[in-house]
């Protein structure tokens, strides 16, 4: 599946609309879902989805390497937060869209796990840990904002974020082993 996506992207770089359509059909629910979770309304989520896929078409080299699913998730999240920011003048923290991945888990997790498995892993975290991860990712809150929101000290928030992500990692590795 991953290799297939890479081959499709090669064709997209060669301006093949059919390859682009295949990628859209495969990933539009993911991109739209991330956008909808962040912006909260269907019209804005559709605008974000359109912007993400047209970025892929107009500037396919902005996706350079690594896992296409991961790239789309990050770009969708960042563009959706752009929309939220333009509405509320909220400072935005972007996920890196360009740093290469040297680890196989991204491919492994995303190729072999469905989103339900990740949800189950999230649900095994404490409520506090899960909130920190979801507010950080989908609401784009900085750790300072997370500290204000949860009432925990800054250092504690960052430690909990790391602990939660490591637990998730262990849980997902267990699922894919």
């Amino acid at each position: 599946m991953v290799d297939d996506a890479s081959q499709l992207m090669e064709r997209v770089r060669a301006r093949d609309p059919q390859a682009f359509e295949a990628i859209y059909d495969r990933f539009s629910r993911l991109v739209y879902g991330v956008a909808l979770r962040v912006v909260g309304d269907h019209a804005a989520a559709q605008d974000v989805t359109q912007a993400v896929f047209l970025t892929l078409w107009n500037a396919p080299r902005s996706y350079r390497e690594g896992n296409l699913t991961a790239w789309l998730v990050r770009v969708a999240r960042n563009r959706a937060l752009d929309t939220v920011r333009s509405r509320a003048a909220h400072p935005q923290v972007e996920l890196s869209e360009t740093m290469p991945e040297a680890d196989g888990l991204e491919d492994t997790v995303l190729a072999r796990l469905d989103s339900d498995a990740v949800r189950r892993a999230l649900n095994r975290l404490s409520e506090t840990e899960r909130s920190l991860i979801e507010l950080g990712f989908f609401d784009g809150l900085t750790h300072q904002e997370l500290a204000r929101r949860t009432g925990a000290p800054l250092g504690t928030v960052k430690t909990r974020i790391r602990s939660a992500l490591r637990k998730l990692r262990a849980s997902l590795e267990g699922t894919t082993a």
């Binding site: 301006r15 609309p17 859209y24 539009s28 629910r29 993911l30 739209y32 879902g33 991330v34 909808l36 989520a45 559709q46 989805t49 359109q50 047209l54 078409w57 107009n58 896992n67 699913t69 991961a70 998730v73 969708a76 999240r77 920011r85 333009s86 003048a89 400072p91 923290v93 972007e94 740093m99 991945e101 680890d103 888990l105 991204e106 997790v109 995303l110 796990l113 989103s115 990740v118 949800r119 999230l122 991860i133 979801e134 990712f137 989908f138 809150l141 900085t142 750790h143 300072q144 997370l146 250092g155 928030v157 960052k158 430690t159 974020i161 790391r162 992500l165 490591r166 998730l168 990692r169």
Partner: protein, 216 residues
């Protein structure tokens, strides 16, 4: 907790996208020389991506959205597949831009040349704006090169608005030239360009280098 443990916590917050720009800079600089933190980032980053996949929609977005996107894709497809009747418009638009010294830019960018052929043109000191119904094509030349950490940012102003709306950032080529496409709507009455920190700003933090009223 040691200072390095604190840095590892910062790496985790960075992977989640929960650091501000200054902290991101510190973490990135540190990871260049710290294998342990680089490895921690590579361990946690895919987990964050996996969290994003939990938002996958149970239903597909509207078929109209796909139709809209594919229409745009076909309109901007490979030049060889364009209908031949578009060629005179493409040549006319290319000539217009070549005459203005922007030929290299138009070749590199893959926009709908027919749009440009019919677009209203507004010249300003550093370039020209071509006004299409839903976007502006801003061509610039001779802009000063910026130091690291700075970019040019475009802005739009809606009718009756008192604040600019942030739009795309860009970095010119070595000759200070660029072609930038920014979305607009029927309420947009002006655009501007200013120098901002990399990543852009919510409002201009420097005096704009160009302000262009779109008029009618």
């Amino acid at each position: 907790m040691s200072a390095h443990d604190e840095m590892l916590d910062n790496v985790a917050a960075f992977a989640l996208g929960a650091l501000d720009a200054r902290e991101v800079s510190i973490v990135l600089q540190h990871m260049q020389t710290c294998d342990e933190c680089q490895a921690e980032y590579e361990t946690l980053r895919p987990v964050v991506t996996a969290v994003g996949t939990t938002a996958t929609s149970d239903t597909s977005p509207s078929p109209l959205l796909k139709a809209r996107i594919m229409k745009e894709v076909h309109a901007q497809g490979a030049p060889a597949r364009r209908p031949s009747f578009m060629l005179p418009y493409a040549l006319a638009a290319a000539c217009l831009l070549l005459a203005a010294g922007f030929g290299a830019v138009i070749v590199e960018q893959n926009h709908t040349i027919a749009d440009l052929a019919g677009a209203r043109r507004i010249a300003f000191a550093q370039g020209e704006v071509l006004v299409a119904p839903d976007r502006l094509y801003i061509t610039v030349h001779g802009l000063p090169l910026l130091p690291a950490g700075k970019v040019y940012q475009t802005w739009t102003l809606a009718k009756g608005a008192t604040k600019m709306t942030p739009s795309v950032t860009f970095t010119p080529d070595q000759q200070g030239g660029a072609l930038v496409t920014i979305p607009i709507n029927a309420t947009t009455v002006a655009t501007a360009i200013s120098v901002e920190p990399a990543g852009g700003s919510l409002q201009p933090t420097t005096k704009p280098v160009a302000i262009v009223k779109l008029g009618s």
